[in-house]
């Protein structure tokens, strides 16, 4: 059970992709989650649905439309090429965009729930202490939503590591560019190289278990302390 250099490349690429996607997603999801957690607008339902759609759609559907939309004939693809940006399909950047869409609900929802759980009381208290809306967000809402951010980062990262369908549709299978672990495993199996497939697959199983076990034990601890502090 040794990892080939191609396997190692796939692992490094996967970790790089998941890290970039997680960081970007946290940044993008924060305003979306804040708005969803606090708005009374009728748009809340539809926006929630759009954010959650990747949960139920086959990844191939996402990948298919992204391929068309971002491709040289697509609206976005043409706009980007006018700006002198290379087409996104079959590139690392394209994978980043696709993965962000695919993992969006896994990042937005924990943050949204954390913001909603804060309620309006701590923010009102801060307002009566001369704290401006931005100050309230930074020094009250964000620290109180920290558990949600931890969940969001872990789930976003893990989910991106585990994707396959979207990658295959829009990324293809280019070493060091789009060949992530799941694609590498697929290749091994296609080549009937089961022992290599085993090595990577077991690694993935171990990774998934460790990450989720850590997440759930942290969440349980936080729930206990949240219960103790629910009447403050």
């Amino acid at each position: 059970m040794f990892l080939s250099s191609a396997d190692l490349d796939a692992i490094v690429l996967t970790l790089k992709l998941a890290s970039v996607v997680t960081v970007l997603l946290i940044l993008i999801s924060t305003p979306i989650a804040w708005w969803l957690a606090r708005t009374q607008s009728w748009l809340k339902g539809p926006v929630n649905a759009i954010v959650a759609m990747p949960l139920v759609l086959p990844p191939t559907v996402l990948g298919f439309y992204l391929l068309i939309f971002l491709g040289p004939q697509g609206a976005m693809g043409q706009a980007l090429s006018k700006l002198g940006i290379d087409p996104l399909p079959f590139s690392f950047n394209g994978l980043v965009v696709a993965s962000m869409l695919y993992s969006l609900p896994f990042v937005v929802q924990p943050i949204q729930n954390a913001f909603a759980a804060i309620g309006k009381l701590p923010l009102e208290a801060a307002a009566t202490l001369r704290s401006s809306p931005w100050d309230r967000f930074l020094h009250v809402a964000l620290p109180l939503a920290k558990p949600g951010y931890v969940s969001a980062a872990v789930l976003g990262f893990a989910h991106t590591v585990g994707e396959f369908g979207v990658v295959l549709m829009i990324g293809g299978n280019i070493p060091n560019e789009t060949r992530v672990i799941s694609v590498q495993i697929y290749d091994h199996v296609e080549a009937l190289d089961y022992s290599q497939a085993h090595t990577l697959s077991l690694l993935m199983i171990a990774f998934a278990f460790v990450v989720l076990a850590c997440l759930y034990s942290v969440q349980k601890r936080q729930k206990n302390s949240a219960a103790a502090s629910s009447f403050l």
């Binding site: 009381l121 701590p122 009102e124 001369r130 109180l144 920290k146 502090s229 009447f231």
Partner: protein
Amino acid sequence: MNTPNKSLQVRLSQQHLKQSTFSLEVDLTLPNRGVTALFGPSGSGKTTLLRCIAGLETQQQGDISLNEVVWQSPTHSLPAHKRPIGYVFQEANLFPHLTSEENLQFAVKRADTEQSVITYEDVVSLLNIAAILPQYPHQLSGGERQRVAMARALLVQPRLLLMDEPLSALDDGLKQEILPYLEQICQRAQIPIIYVSHALDEVIRLADYIVVLEKGRVIEQGEKYTLLGRLGTSFSRHQDASVVVSGTVTQQAAQWGLSWLTLNDQTIAFKQGKEQIGDLVSVRIQSRDVSLSLSKQDDSSILNRLTATIDDMDNDPKDTSMVMVRLLVGDTPILARITALSAHNLALHKGQTVIAQIKSVALLR
């Protein structure tokens, strides 16, 4: 007295919301010093009114200004964080992710630097919270949390302190523990305080000026001493109807544990507290503890027997067996709740001189 420009002006008029029949319609000019109590049953709009003053209710139309500085007009409204207020919530509402000390520092960092109500050291000793400063809110008792919350509201150095039933979430024991601290704040703070409560005893102990709300309307208002002594009000018809009488301590008898205050050449005995001769004290006299007789009975166990004149009488329409009698000792009103039958038998009438026997007198502060 307050001049119109040195006061808190609140004029609000809320449109009826579709789903609710509640509306708030008030036009108030409140003193810019001392404690103003907003008193009324739950649902009377007192918390909503307080939140409007704080800027936490944004739907409300109206005018609000403090000492001629406009906080809200029909065209513009200062957001809550730009109003120079301190706010104490029903539940302490401390930030759970910060220790008590960090909660206080949150206020200190954002405090009004032009205004100085109280220093950090003073507030910590006034509320006796030095020992609990390193602790997180969930490690504190309800009373401790409320004390930290009051300290935090003061440390933002407000020009107006708003308190929304700060004792209502506490049980009776804790209430008694917190009340002295509240009294300290009310006496020491050089800023006006608006205190929302539905508890008559808190209002009697703390307030200088009282506003009574019912269904979003102001039904009575006035200085505590005069309002409590008035007949036909929600106070005089309350089962705990009381007046507050203040006077100078002129006599003490340590062996009996009693002090006397002088009121128009007459004295009132009360259980001795920390007061000294010469101090100005206030005592609460409940109307049900006052009985009337036509002659002085020196063989009674009741110590306090005051000569008073009947000023007015009121029949409670809800309880025709009782009559409320308003007495004047000099110009100080005292209420006596007696049976209608006694009033008839004694042929009590306005202008008559009677002896008011007061069974019990409670020292307020």
